[in-house]
Symmetry: C2
Subunit: 585 residues, 2 copies
């Protein structure tokens, strides 16, 4: 049977094992073709081909509910639920998202589940609804890496008590993005090495029935195990030992590099394009390596995403015990940062803005309240970072700046970035987050300040009148262009680099009333709850008009940044037009 | 030895076991005297007397690091670290906080740890810092109830790998605030019933050495076990079986009621004051019970705090399988809400604002993005809720309203509250949070609206001119008084009940420019990142002055609400004064 002819899981039910194996082959070819052409999650999707064929062969979606975690390992699921053509027809590759998406398929994609670890708790919710309604199988399909997230434990702890059908399929490919961390993975290894027989069993300790499948890439083994689990009336874990990147030699050999890959040459797995341009990631990597060497009491923490600051295996090893990966566990990332800082270490915790959301409470309760000076570079922020709905870098400013006593700095260029990092490391008073730019890679035109201890002091870069443009972080370059464009209209505007986005310079803002009428605030983040609103709250009472620019509080998915800038009136001509209107009305 | 003569843990080192037991007796008497007089956490502190004496007898704080989770069980720790007088001298009772507090004792109180479950991760951070510095014992002291929080699992998963000293003391009193939930507690029971010998062992599965202490209220047993654990070079769990409320009969008999108690009569444990006044808690309880009866497909979720909506054992039982407690696990609370709603149930998840912080990511990723209409009443918000630093109800508006597609409603009185709840339950489109008032208990003066499907439509309660007062939620009553006071000054102000605080009525705000000059926004929450800032962002560009009122972005602890209102210029005369100044300048 041809993959293109699969329109729903029903189409594979009549197939024999050889047909299913042939289908697996076609799917692997499609995954390699797709990811090598436009990039994507290679290893995870190659590794779970048999597991997901098995799931759809044995269970009856959409009647049975399948929740995939983290859902970027869902390609086979999508191929089997009416979306095969998107992986076969090159012209359609970009028309499908990597994550399960209820808008794409309301029947088969129950949740987005774009961040790791929520599947069991979400499925537990489905199970609670089921207990009030009609019956079905409920399946949470979760990778080993995702089990380190606390919410996965919470879900296991609750779902075990269901006294009803509940199936957790653990797709154990022995990797998160990088290697796993934590003693749970010793237990998983012990279970693999004992063919599931070890007395120590995390899942059994939590009350689950347990089936181990040594050959998780063997369809017959998978199907046979899932058939045993189907319709059971007691929560069960099916533990599949799978191979990340299965069936594609470069992905099997380089599992971390092929977790997610940019377009590559299928012949040898080499990336099609390689850039040696300096960027914030490699600069950050080099800075961290230097600091580790300079200070033996400096600790770098990652929560399973070392690649976002350029740390591959070599760099991690180079840091020895000055580097700790807490696994996919941002809550513990923040608490470890706070604890180690309180214990007297210098600590740097570079973290993706979107994943930091998991640790909002820890930011306040474990870090901000305490005397734990540490440094948190926040990566992946703003309109030109990740564009997937589930990974937007829009919300970090409202999130972080709603918490007292965290100093959030927004550098406008490379030199200022590292000056801010240096200052943060060399002081012992403040808890400092730094918003790493993504909008562009700028160099300083003048000397940058070394000392940021005067909190919330804005820097006037150019004095003018009538209009003051306050341009934060990586939108400073946009502010410069707005001021230039206003100059063309005969307006000599003031230009301000606020540097701090967690507070405002009330004195400076107050002084603007002497010879300004309009204040324009630009930030590469959510407009609501962000920096601009704070400025508006200060300048509005003194009679200045305040125009704030940022992103609407809306969910957007796989957007074109240029188009979004236009839609949100963030282009220079639009800002200038609005400013002139405000000035003249 | 007299308790009052204990000034540091050193003072108990020379004592024999009988002296220590006598000390335990004095401490219990002090705890009962203290809590019966001013209220507090009775059962937890009575239950861990021997455990904490043991900790300070065996370990050498402050050299050894003790992290207590959740830290309201720390009375004995405080008594042993120079603060006994606060529990002995009635006039000093109110001068000490319930939680560990680094400001109170920088040496002995390492963290606040006011929310449950972070201790192991914080201690892991201390251990990572230790590995770069000098050696010491690191002890995380954690209740059984706190182990359900995902971050506790994350901490265990990481700390097990330390290959160095790390001691987790599990104070197992077989209770959270109410009963525990989840299969972990079956395992703890199995361990207790087998005297720690069961093959299923959650801690061993995670790689820990393990000691069980059947008599956790027996000092000799505790000390002997802790001595074994001290200085070990491998992470170890010491599992203490303790009795919540030990030594005070009413607290042993009524463990839930005596988790936290208002002042009570020591003779019989009866509360000194009982109010039969209607309030939002009992009203909510009655509403929930009614809705459960009306709709067999309605589910109520709690994350271990059923008492905040008046659900004691009787009410929980009455709901049968329409009630689920996910234990201390707000992440899973939100995911379960979202999952059950997606599964077709009607879902209500009443939750404390301060604890909801744990689920910020789930609010966005698991709830807001999906088509999961559910209802989340947010309790404990505003200036007159809990006043402990770690439990402030200040930050919910910035937190919730920074997320797209969650409708956050702020009722101004009881009738409006339930009209909003009814509307939220009877629609299938929106995800709705309702901010339950705490400022006062008001009744509607007129009919309240039934339909809130016109999102972000503000309600003009009284039309006027020059000044528009927009008073949100339970600060509406303050808005009424401001308008009255302005009338005394000859100003006929407009009064607006916004009803929605997650968005603004741009059309109405725009229309204000016709005959208004000043807009005053009042909210019972953080001024920065909140509702007022959003209004300012809309009215400032059209030339209106906007004055926003709320709480400063500052940490405050055990404050007097009246004094804080004054300090933040939230009293009616202050607001009127500012408004007149703005109008006339």
């Amino acid at each position: 049977m041809k993959l293109i002819d699969i329109h729903s899981p029903q189409d594979i039910k009549p197939l024999g094992i050889d047909d299913l194996k042939d289908l697996a082959k076609q799917m692997r070819a499609a995954i390699i073709n797709y990811t090598s052409t436009i990039g994507g999650h290679v290893g995870p999707n190659l590794g779970d081909v048999e597991a997901l064929i098995g799931v759809h062969y044995v269970f009856d979606a959409p009647k049975d509910k399948i929740v995939i975690d983290v859902s970027h390992q869902d390609f086979v699921h999508k191929m089997l639920t009416g979306r095969a053509q998107y992986y076969l027809d090159k012209s359609m590759f970009t028309h499908i998202g990597e994550f399960t998406d209820p808008k794409e398929s309301p029947e088969y994609d129950i949740f987005y589940a774009g961040h790791t670890s929520p599947s069991i708790s979400l499925a537990f919710g489905l199970a609670k609804a089921r207990s009030l309604k009609k019956n079905c199988n409920i399946v949470a399909f979760i990778g080993d890496g995702s089990l380190s997230g606390g919410v996965a434990f919470e879900g296991l702890n609750n779902a075990a008590k269901l006294n009803d059908n509940f199936i957790v399929i653990v797709n154990d490919n022995q990797m998160a993005i990088a290697e796993n961390h934590g003693s749970l993975y010793d237990n998983l290894r012990e279970l693999r090495e004992t063919n599931g027989q070890s007395e120590n069993n995390y899942f059994k300790a939590l009350g689950y029935d347990y089936i181990y499948v040594a050959e998780g890439n063997d369809l017959e083994s998978v199907i046979s195990a899932l058939k045993k689990a189907k319709d059971t009336k007691k929560p069960i874990v099916v533990h599949l030992n799978t191979q990340k990147g299965e069936g594609y030699a470069p992905a099997e050999a380089h599992r971390e590099e092929f977790h997610f890959s940019a377009p590559y040459d299928v012949a040898d797995g080499e990336p099609l394009q390689q850039s040696n341009e300096p960027n914030y990631i490699t600069d950050t990597r080099d800075y961290l390596l230097r600091k580790v060497k300079e200070n033996p009491e400096l600790l770098i923490i990652s929560s399973a995403t070392p690649e976002v600051f350029g740390f591959m295996e070599k760099e991690r090893k180079a840091c020895g015990n000055q580097y700790v990966d807490v696994a996919i566990a941002e809550q513990t990332g923040v608490s470890t940062m706070a604890g180690a800082a309180r214990g007297g270490a210098k600590v740097i915790y570079p973290v993706m803005a979107t994943f930091l959301q998991r640790a909002y409470d820890q930011l306040e309760q474990d870090w901000a309240m305490d005397n734990s000076p540490a440094l948190m570079p926040v990566m992946g922020t703003g309109i030109r970072a990740l564009t997937d709905l589930t990974h937007l870098g829009f919300w970090d400013i409202p999130m972080i700046t709603s918490i007292p006593e965290i100093v959030y700095l927004a550098p406008t260029n490379v030199e200022e970035y590292f000056a801010m990092m240096d200052w943060a490391l060399n002081q012992n008073e403040h808890k400092v987050a730094v918003r790493v730019p993504t909008y562009s890679y700028e160099h300083a035109k003048d000397d940058v300040d070394k000392d940021y201890s005067g909190l919330n002091k804005f820097k006037v870069v150019k004095e003018g009148q009538d209009v003051a443009v306050i341009a934060a972080g990586d939108f400073f370059v946009k502010g410069e262009r707005v001021v230039e464009a206003l100059a063309d209209k005969g307006i000599n505007a003031t230009l301000i680099n606020p540097r701090f986005i967690s507070g405002v310079d009330t004195e400076l803002l107050d002084s603007l009333k002497q010879n300004h009428k309009v204040v324009v605030v630009l930030e590469d983040g959510s407009k609501e709850g962000g920096f601009g609103g704070r400025v508006a709250q200060v300048v509005s009472p003194i009679g200045l008009k305040c125009l704030t620019y940022g992103f609407e509080k809306k969910f957007v998915d796989r957007y074109n940044p240029d188009e979004l800038e236009k839609a949100y009136r963030l282009t220079v001509p639009q800002i200038v037009e609005d400013t002139l209107n405000a000035l003249n009305s």
